[in-house]
Amino acid sequence: MKELTAVLRYFPLDPVTNPPKPIWQADLDLIAGETGTTITLDAVSGKSRTGEGDMVREDTMNSAIEEVSQEVVTVTAHDEKALTLAVRALIRIYRAPRTVFGTWGSSPHGREIISRLCDEHDGWY
């Protein structure tokens, strides 16, 4: 069966709109184990990023989406049901990616699943 991929990109927003808890690989492994999926976490630090904490600065205007500072959660599954369960669990814990490009890199069907689940949770909870 063809592999499905869902990519959820979380950018460094403010504390209110960021995922309400830090994203750890160990927590993702638990979800992956419960749903029969594979979930990876990649942290990207933008090339032009300066500053930490409350005063991050970064020129993102001419960057590729993948080069901007972000945390990328990638879910792979062999069936729709497993992917749906995993993405639903991720959105419940970390909220939905906020932008249309926040799912860039997903397979077409994976992206449809994310969009449907984001709508289900109003994009937030």
């Binding site: 460094p12 403010d14 005063m55 901007v68 490009f101 909870y125």
Partner: protein, 295 residues
Amino acid sequence: MKILGIVGSCRKLGNTEILVKEALMAAQDQGAKVDIVRWTNYDIFPCEGDAVCMFLDKDCKHKGNDGHDYLLNMMYEFDGVVLGVPCYILEVEAVVKQFIDRLFILSSRPSKMIGKPAAVIVPYATRGWTSYAFLQPTILLHFLGMHIIDKQLIHTQAMSESAGDPLAKEKARRIGKEVADAVRTGDHSYKGDPGICPVCHERNIRIMSDNQTVECGICAIRGRLTIVDGKIRAEFPQEHLAWHRFAPESLYRHTTYEVKPSKDYFIRKWPDLKEQRAKYKEFLDIDRAAGEARS
């Protein structure tokens, strides 16, 4: 000390104009130099969403063809603002929203009103029809980075009625004095109804779809409802308050991480979308239809 009165009403010598002038008279009594402008005397064309101001750092295509750039730069010459705009059907006159939509320009040309005080006067006719009266004025002034120090609804209906209404004029004068005092002293503390949201002082609280979390729709701070002594309260984490939607750092991150990367997205999607949209060009001619309707 210069204070600008902005009137968002077409009515000549109507209640909004009268009340803003009353506020400016009070500000003048405090030593302010005052001036007034009627926004509805100017065309403000709709934002066309081409985002050249944002992505290409270019002037808006409407610059010079309508009044937005002129009115924005006029505001920049003042230290404080009294904004008066009537409430019609639950909300204020549409000129405020038209002005807000063109403020995408601030993404490449930052506001020069940051940290300046402002107050809002909203005349209205019918109690119970003002649910969102302060929504657009609050968004406008916060987006410009201003500190709103007071907001007043003023109940008045007949043409120029407020000219003979001592209470209405007293409220307006208080607004004018407060703005002048705020400019002079630097004390921008909020003087109006405290409301529910501790940032914008509005009462328009959204219940999120988890049915547990509430959010101020304007400020995007989130918290919980509690009932204390039979009274509803919204409690927001203290650390969220500084990160409300219109705080400079929040706006920076929104622009940096939610807006600017979309340039790359648009470029990458365009080749496919160019083909996919072709059938919609062939299906009905929306612009021809509009032209026929006008003729």
